[in-house]
């Protein structure tokens, strides 16, 4: 009974995610059709011959009805084809897969950095709610959250690369030299992580305070257990659950937000690939890149959602009792 209920829950979440991905493909392909004028003429320029325009339209799939184009997109996708770069004919999938590891490394390092700084800030803040430290952390958190990542990127570049010359200005480091690559990763990571440090600190503090007001915590206090032990051993574990979900969802958001750090620090990645493609009106690359980001975004949200259901015993019990949907 319990596993059946869990299976239904999993199937429901998976179906919703698949529908969102399919819907986003329809939206992406529809958008290409809405380009003012003929997309192939926009790409090739007004001097292009009618034959070249017709050939490019056929290559992009614009000579077919939308529904046929959607099915063709998925058919090609399952055979590992996301279309071709309109200028040099290179496969878009290859371009995306080449850029993805750089963006993933940046997003993962940013999230690890955010956890490493956000969790201690939340613990410090929750020790004395309303105290000086708490108010300072609250202000810093809002400051971190509200400051755009591209402003942080430019400021970090200005201070640590241009003025102090501690970190390299641009690029992703020498290929094969891990130390150099990590050195090049420091500033983009800090720029991307700043907002998430604030999010994690605030969210975890709020959950910790809620947890510290529970009856079992009051009982522990009555038994004389130290505040530090209560915080670290008994409050942190259950309080961290909502943060796990947000971190999971945030990872997908970071993949999209990496575009600024990649452009400013001139790093190769999915964001800079899409940006360059937009500037050159290379629509198949824009489509492929955006599709992969949406796919990863939906996937990370799904994993975060499911892990929340599987980690939290209360959620597991709710699903087991058949109140899953």
């Amino acid at each position: 009974m319990r596993s059946a209920s869990l299976q239904i829950h999993l199937a429901f979440k998976l179906t919703t995610a698949l529908l969102a991905v399919a819907g986003s493909v329809v939206l992406l392909l529809t958008l290409t059709r809405l380009i003012p004028g003929d997309p192939a003429t926009v790409i090739l320029g007004s001097r292009a011959t009618p034959e070249a325009v017709a050939a490019l339209n056929a290559r992009i799939g614009l000579d077919k009805p939308l529904i046929e184009q959607v099915f063709a997109f998925f058919r090609r996708l399952f055979s590992g084809d996301l279309g071709q770069d309109v200028f040099n004919g290179r496969p878009v999938l290859g371009l995306v897969l080449g850029a993805l590891p750089n963006t993933a490394a940046l997003a993962i390092s940013a999230m690890l950095c955010a956890i490493a700084f956000g969790v201690p800030l939340a613990l410090l803040s929750a020790r004395r709610p309303g105290g000086r430290v708490d108010r300072l952390v609250a202000f810093l958190s809002v400051g971190f959250i509200s400051t755009p990542s591209f402003v942080v990127s430019v400021f970090l570049l200005m201070v640590f690369s241009v003025t102090l010359r501690w970190f390299p200005v641009l690029g992703a480091g020498e290929s094969g030299d891990l130390g150099d690559q990590l050195w090049h990763l420091v500033l983009p990571t800090a720029a991307l992580a700043a907002g998430w440090i604030g999010y994690i600190a605030r969210l975890l503090r709020s959950s910790l305070l809620e947890m510290l007001g529970e009856n079992h915590i009051r009982t522990l206090r009555a038994y004389g257990v130290s505040e530090a032990k209560i915080l670290m051993k008994y409050a942190l574990k259950p309080a961290v659950l909502p943060t796990v979900a947000v971190v999971g969802m945030g990872f997908g958001e970071l993949l999209g937000g990496a575009v600024f750090a990649e452009v400013i620090f001139n790093r190769p990645g999915l964001g800079s690939l899409i940006y360059d493609a937009i500037r050159t009106r290379n629509y198949p690359v824009v489509q492929g890149g955006v599709f992969v980001i949406v796919l990863l975004y939906v996937l990370t949200n799904l994993i975060a959602d499911l892990s929340q259901s599987l980690i939290d015993p209360r959620e597991r019990a709710r699903l087991a009792s058949g109140r899953g949907q």
Partner: protein, 277 residues
């Protein structure tokens, strides 16, 4: 007035009120207080440090940075308020419509919201700009599309929560038209949380607009957008740090001010949230 006093007592409330009031005044009075025209070029005095003639220095074309920042406040506030007005109106109309419509219509509208929110906000904004091109009008319309589901979902949830309330049922029994029920009974009861959400979305809209302009895909130069100014500052970072510094600080002041105002407003309007914040 009481609400303002209450607001100023919230954490960060005083700073938020100060920052937002300052920005609004600067935006309104821009032509009166700017020492130079925003596009007045002076090639002889390019990339100058702050001085008595140019308090915040000059950019790569010799334009006064302070004047451009002052006019930039107009662009930032103008775009963000326009985006919020459009997305709030469309979102509330769609959300309330979905909640009060037959199940099939509701499913279609919710499905569209789900598809739009399956894109990270900045990526959707980039995809839309890639199709329709940059420019002031396009940025306002395209960023509005990104934010419609934010308001639509809250409006729908709030409407579902009250649609079977006795006072709505009583109106229907008395023969009130649907539009009357929506305008006089549903909207006033759901607008509070939506207003707070609007305030909290303003810094996000300012960030997206400035981000698009920074990438050269938003407001077109020479219009003084803080994103354009930051991009100019980034390009000439090794020659003069002032443009990047002041445009970045202006963006920080605006986003922090509105973020704190949104939070203070939420705390003031929703006493249930106060205990955890």
């Amino acid at each position: 007035m009481t609400a303002l006093v209450d607001l100023s007592r919230r954490p960060g409330g005083t700073f938020a009120l100060f920052a937002v009031t300052l920005l609004c005044l600067v935006a309104i009075a821009a032509p009166l207080i700017a020492p130079y025209g925003p596009n007045a070029i002076a090639p002889a005095s390019r990339l100058m440090d702050p001085s008595l003639q140019h308090w915040l220095g000059t950019d790569q074309l010799g334009r006064d940075i302070l004047s451009r920042l002052i006019f930039g406040a107009r662009v930032a506030l103008g775009i963000s308020l326009s985006v919020i007005a459009i997305s709030l109106t469309a979102g509330v109309a769609l959300g309330v419509g979905a909640a009060l419509s037959p199940r099939a219509v509701d499913l279609v509208i919710v499905g569209i919201f789900d598809i739009v929110t399956s894109f990270p906000s900045i990526i959707l904004a980039l995809a839309l700009v890639a199709v329709f091109g940059p420019g002031l009008g396009n940025v306002v319309l395209l960023v509005s599309i990104v934010f419609i589901p934010h308001f639509g979902r809250v409006a729908r949830a709030q409407t579902i929560a009250i649609r079977n309330s006795p006072f709505i049922e009583a109106e229907k029994v008395l023969g009130a038209e649907t539009w009357r029920v929506i305008l006089h009974h549903v909207t006033p009861n759901i607008i509070g949380p939506i207003f707070v959400l609007a305030c909290m979305d303003i810094p996000v809209v300012i960030t997206i607009e400035a981000g698009l302009s920074f990438l050269g895909l938003g407001v077109r130069p020479p219009l003084a957008s803080w994103g354009n100014l930051l991009n100019d500052g980034y390009t000439y970072l090794d020659q003069s740090p002032w443009l990047a510094t002041f445009s970045g600080l202006s963006l920080m002041l605006a986003t922090l001010g509105f973020a704190l105002l949104g939070e203070a407003l939420r705390d003031t309007l929703d006493p249930k949230l106060r205990k955890n914040l």
